[in-house]
């Protein structure tokens, strides 16, 4: 028993010693493990500290763009044409939203979501930067805002943001001048400076909005913020504020623009009014117009399709992009070419029969007046718009002497107005025909070019510019829409300078002859605009003008033009260009009424209304001016 106990003590002692050895081994191993951990931590915390500090800063710091406020657009009298209105919009931060389908299903109970909006939303979700809120619905009404605000605790990632939205208070009347902004798309991204547009959602798409995008947009600012893992901004660390875009004051006169559109109203067409002294465009109408506001946040497919399929083409800017045969409106220019080239004189008279034939050719070039105009000189030829006189003059001049004069007046090239969409028209010449059709020029083509038919195409803007050049007796001023810039930050207004183009050089006597002829065509009993203007002249001033009736549809030589028998789309375009007061021109006008019929009957009265309105508003015309 004692021995057993002794053994057991010995045994216990051996076991305890063995245990102690094991404990020591364990402590050694533990020390080694802790040393390894220590080395690891030392490498992370001391060795790679800077690397991880950078990563940590990248995690928590974010540079956020601060989009600038877009400049406003005013008319010449300070009437607002484009403004920024605060509007509530529904935005979703996808990272916080969880299941998108579920969220959309829940939201659709609160707010009406069209399939288009959802489709757009999903597309933007794919393109977004992380933690960037994505627009779901714009222009929320107060009631919807309230409904969503109440339900927001159950809608993670859903935000209602007040953001400025571009608005065009005068809508339709100015859509073709001011244009509109729209959401930036992939094509826009190619031309825009990505850095300056980092926080911008919209950009000018058409018109002045597009042309002056750089000035209107301003410079994007930045702020450095601290964000958490959900991307939520915790605090602002530094700010570099944005520079707002500059305000534009256009040369457009809201009253005149509206008056011009009203005067044109039943017709599709264009009216362009220019101040010949400065080149300022006072009115630029293309009818029909359209409401630009739906375009700002994306017009629906259906509404857009309706606009596109509308036979009156409301989206088409006829004033700048419409190219029409000028018809007889350019006869003064052809006449000036004849005088300058010495092919004819103011006194030269010819007997204008009902048609013209090129020597040795059978084909008869008919006058618009059956039986002709009898004896005409140059002035009367312009006033009565004698086609035969100009066939003859054109033939004598030849295309090579006619085209340069037309070119000098700007036909065939853009006048360079400060809006998008301007087309150059066509100035026909031998070289032009060779390069486009690879065909030689035929004498018959010269003949019809002289009366503004054939290949020649002009825009209403070019015709107004021609009127302005005629008013200035050859001095060419570049038409422009921008009158002044106002710096948003210091309120300083900078007027835009008058820019001159290469003048049309012609003798004084020749200018006088053309000038008189244009007055004659309006105010003489035989003038083509006598019926609509001269017979009931405005009080206190005279108008110099030229009518035009441009053929859309070629008649066979033995056919008579009869409106009643023709489809309306084949009716002639009615044109008129004018300047007034004739002696001291203040405005130059071009009117185009598509398929309006006779220039004298349809286009001239429209120009008359525009001129009357303008001069009345400048106090030129007596109150009794409208008296018969």
């Amino acid at each position: 028993m004692l021995i057993d106990r002794q053994d057991s003590y010995d045994e216990e002692g051996r076991d305890q010693r063995r245990f102690s050895v094991r404990v020591l081994v364990a402590m050694l191993i533990l020390s080694l493990l802790l040393l390894a951990l220590g080395v690891r931590l030392f490498t992370l915390q001391v060795g790679a500290h800077e690397h991880f500090t950078t990563l940590s800063e990248n995690n928590r710091l974010r540079i956020e763009p601060m989009p600038p406020t877009r400049g406003l657009i005013f008319d010449r009298n300070g009437v607002l044409l484009a403004e920024n209105r605060p509007a509530y919009q529904l935005e979703v931060t996808v990272e916080q939203a969880g299941d998108l389908d579920e969220l959309l299903a829940r939201l659709s109970g609160l707010v009406e979501l069209s399939s288009l909006e959802i489709e757009r939303f999903r597309a933007s979700v794919r393109q977004r930067r992380p933690f960037q809120p994505v627009l779901l619905k714009a222009n929320l009404d107060d009631e919807t805002v309230a409904r969503i605000a109440v339900a927001r605790p159950e809608l993670p990632g859903v935000e209602i943001e007040a953001r400025p939205v571009r608005h065009y208070p005068l809508g339709e009347d100015f859509a073709h001048v001011v244009g509109y902004v729209g959401r930036i798309n992939e094509r826009d991204l190619l031309r825009l400076d990505a850095r300056n547009y980092a926080g911008t959602s919209h950009t000018g798409k058409t018109g002045v909005e597009r042309y002056y995008e750089d000035i209107l947009h301003g410079t994007t600012g930045h702020r450095q913020v601290e964000v958490n893992a959900q991307g939520r901004v915790i605090r602002e660390l530094s700010v570099n504020p944005p520079e707002p875009g500059q305000d534009l004051t256009l040369s457009i006169d809201v009253g005149l623009q509206r008056a011009a559109r009203q005067a044109l109203a039943p017709h599709d067409g264009a009216v362009v009014v220019i101040d010949p002294a400065t080149g300022e465009v006072l009115a630029l109408v293309s009818n029909p117009g359209f409401d630009p506001n739906p375009f700002v946040n994306g017009i629906s497919h259906r509404a857009f399709a309706a606009l596109q399929s509308n036979p009156h083409k409301p989206l088409f800017n006829r004033a700048l992009s419409g190219q029409y045969p000028p018809g007889s409106t350019l006869k003064p220019v052809v006449a000036l070419a004849g005088l300058e080239e010495g092919v004819t004189t103011a006194e030269h008279r010819m007997f204008a029969t009902g048609y013209f034939q090129l020597p040795g050719h059978e084909r008869r070039y008919r006058d618009w007046k059956r039986g002709g105009h009898g004896w005409v000189d140059l002035s009367r030829a312009i006033a009565v718009s004698a086609d035969v006189y100009f066939y003859d003059l054109g033939h004598k001049l030849g295309i090579d002497r006619m085209a340069p004069m037309l070119g000098a007046f700007g036909i065939g090239s853009r006048v360079g107005i400060d809006a998008t969409g301007e087309r150059p028209g066509i100035l026909p010449s031998r070289e032009w025909k060779r390069s486009v059709q690879n065909l030689p020029w035929f004498p018959g083509e010269t003949v019809i070019t002289a009366i503004g038919q054939g290949y020649m195409l002009t825009t209403p803007l070019q015709l107004a510019d021609v009127a302005s050049t005629l008013a200035n007796r050859g001095l060419r001023v570049q038409p422009r829409l921008l009158r002044a810039l106002r710096d948003g930050s210091n309120g300083e207004t900078v007027m835009q300078p008058v820019r001159h183009l290469a003048p049309v050089n012609a003798g004084d006597a020749h200018w006088d002859a053309i000038h008189e002829a244009m007055i004659e065509s309006v105010h003489a009993r035989h003038g083509t605009a006598w019926g609509s203007i001269g017979s009931n002249p405005p009080a206190g001033y005279r108008i110099a003008g030229k009518t035009g009736t441009a053929q859309v549809f070629s008649l066979a030589p033995d056919q008579e033009y009869d409106e009643a028998e023709l489809d309306r789309l084949l009716w002639d375009h009615a044109l008129f260009l004018a300047y007034a007061p004739a002696e001291d021109p203040e405005i130059a006008v071009a009117v185009l009424a598509e398929h309006g019929g006779s220039g004298g009957r349809v286009a001239a009265p429209i120009a008359r209304e525009v001129i009357d309105f303008h001069l009345a508003s400048r106090g030129r015309m007596a109150a009794s001016g409208e008296a018969p």
Partner: protein, 372 residues
């Protein structure tokens, strides 16, 4: 001053003795718990509510420690096989009726409380193995090894299937450490090492996808920065950006701005390392080392085999806890879901740990009685 057996004792010494506590260990644990609360306050985004909940858990843990410390070792020893059997039974029950939480079947709902039977095993396992081996001659023979292997493998497999890799690891380690401390011949460990090396490919095929993913992610966290690798990447950023001195308490951007996931539970070490830096980390490791050392000292001083084995195993399991947690948070080991002992937010493991310290206290006070 109270005089007991002729020696002068201070009030605190008397209190410790009557409560059967080891002052050194108690102070170390208290310091760690305080530190834990401070880190937790920061990691939870200065949430007083989280702090209060953790304090109530600590109170529960302290209660467990006090109660267990008062259980005589003989009683504990006698209870060991029954505790083990109960734990095993509950593990089977989990397989059959367990509640699913976060995709794993770990919980048993007893109507009043839900708890994880695997936590019981953390203590029942070393108690059982120590109980068995203390009945046998030392060092353990082959037969002993065979029996103990079964005792270890069955619960570990059950826990792995839940699946709960972290707890399985700790339970298995607790059992193995008893064998190690019992003096099992070294060559068996060599053999075990080889066996594990052989089993790894087999284990790989048995693993759940998420477990495999964790290991793959560990090898190359950058391969999936927003998915599986996110934890480790953000954790390393937090630790590394802490630097030598740390960003300061409540100033860790990785944790305060919520870049760090599971920052109050398994990854709380990263928060600590970010805010207190390398120096803070060294201090923490020293504290842990002292706790393990004190536990092993208590074990080594014990006169009875059962006491030595259980105290040694509990101390070393605690070491495994901390080494594995720090290893995974620093990206050295796979993320297996083991909390940082005494600091991570969470109730069950804290109570188990404190009960384990209670056993250490019981061993310590028994030794004092024996020595007297």
């Amino acid at each position: 001053m109270i005089s007991v057996t002729g020696r002068e004792l201070t009030t605190s010494q008397w209190l410790l003795r009557s409560l059967r506590l080891d002052g050194t260990l108690l102070v170390l644990i208290a310091v760690l718990l305080m530190l834990g609360l401070a880190v937790l306050f920061s990691a939870s985004g200065e949430s007083v509510e989280a702090l209060q909940r953790q304090i109530s858990r600590i109170a529960l843990g302290v209660l467990a420690l006090l109660v267990v410390a008062r259980i005589p070792i003989s009683t504990l020893r006698a209870l060991s096989p029954w505790l083990f059997l109960a734990g095993l039974g509950l593990l089977f029950a989990v397989v059959l009726f367990g509640d699913v939480g976060k995709g794993a079947r770990r919980w048993l709902d007893l109507g009043v409380i839900r708890f994880q039977p695997s936590e019981i095993m953390k203590l029942a396992m070393p108690l059982m193995v120590a109980w068995y081996l203390s009945l046998r001659n030392a060092p353990p023979r082959f037969l002993d090894l065979l029996v103990v292997s079964v005792l270890i493998v069955v619960p570990v497999l059950l826990i792995m299937r839940q699946p709960d890799l972290g707890t399985a690891l700790l339970v298995g380690a607790a059992g193995l450490l008893v064998i190690f401390l019992a003096g099992l011949n070294w060559r068996w460990f060599l053999g075990l090492g080889l066996a594990i090396a052989a089993v790894i490919p087999l284990l790989w095929t048995q693993m759940h996808d998420y477990q495999r993913q964790r290991i793959l992610t560990l090898l190359n966290p950058e391969s999936d920065p927003l998915g599986a690798g996110y934890h480790i990447i953000q954790s390393k950023i937090a630790i590394g950006s802490g630097g030598l001195y740390g960003k300061g308490w409540l100033n860790g951007t990785q944790s305060q701005l919520q870049f760090l996931p599971e920052r109050s539970t398994d990854f709380v070490f990263a928060v600590y390392a970010e805010e207190f830096g390398f120096l803070g980390v060294v201090l923490l490791m020293v504290l842990y080392f002292l706790i393990v050392g004190r536990g092993l000292w208590i074990a080594a001083m014990a006169q009875e085999r059962f006491c030595r084995l259980i105290a040694g195993s509990i101390s070393l399991t605690f070491a495994v806890y901390m080494v594995v947690n720090m290893g995974m948070v620093t990206g050295l080991l796979p993320v297996v879901g083991i909390p940082l002992p005494l600091i991570s937010y969470g109730g069950t493991s804290l109570v188990t740990l404190m009960a384990g310290f209670g056993i250490l206290m019981a061993v310590h006070s028994r030794q004092r009685l024996v020595n007297r």
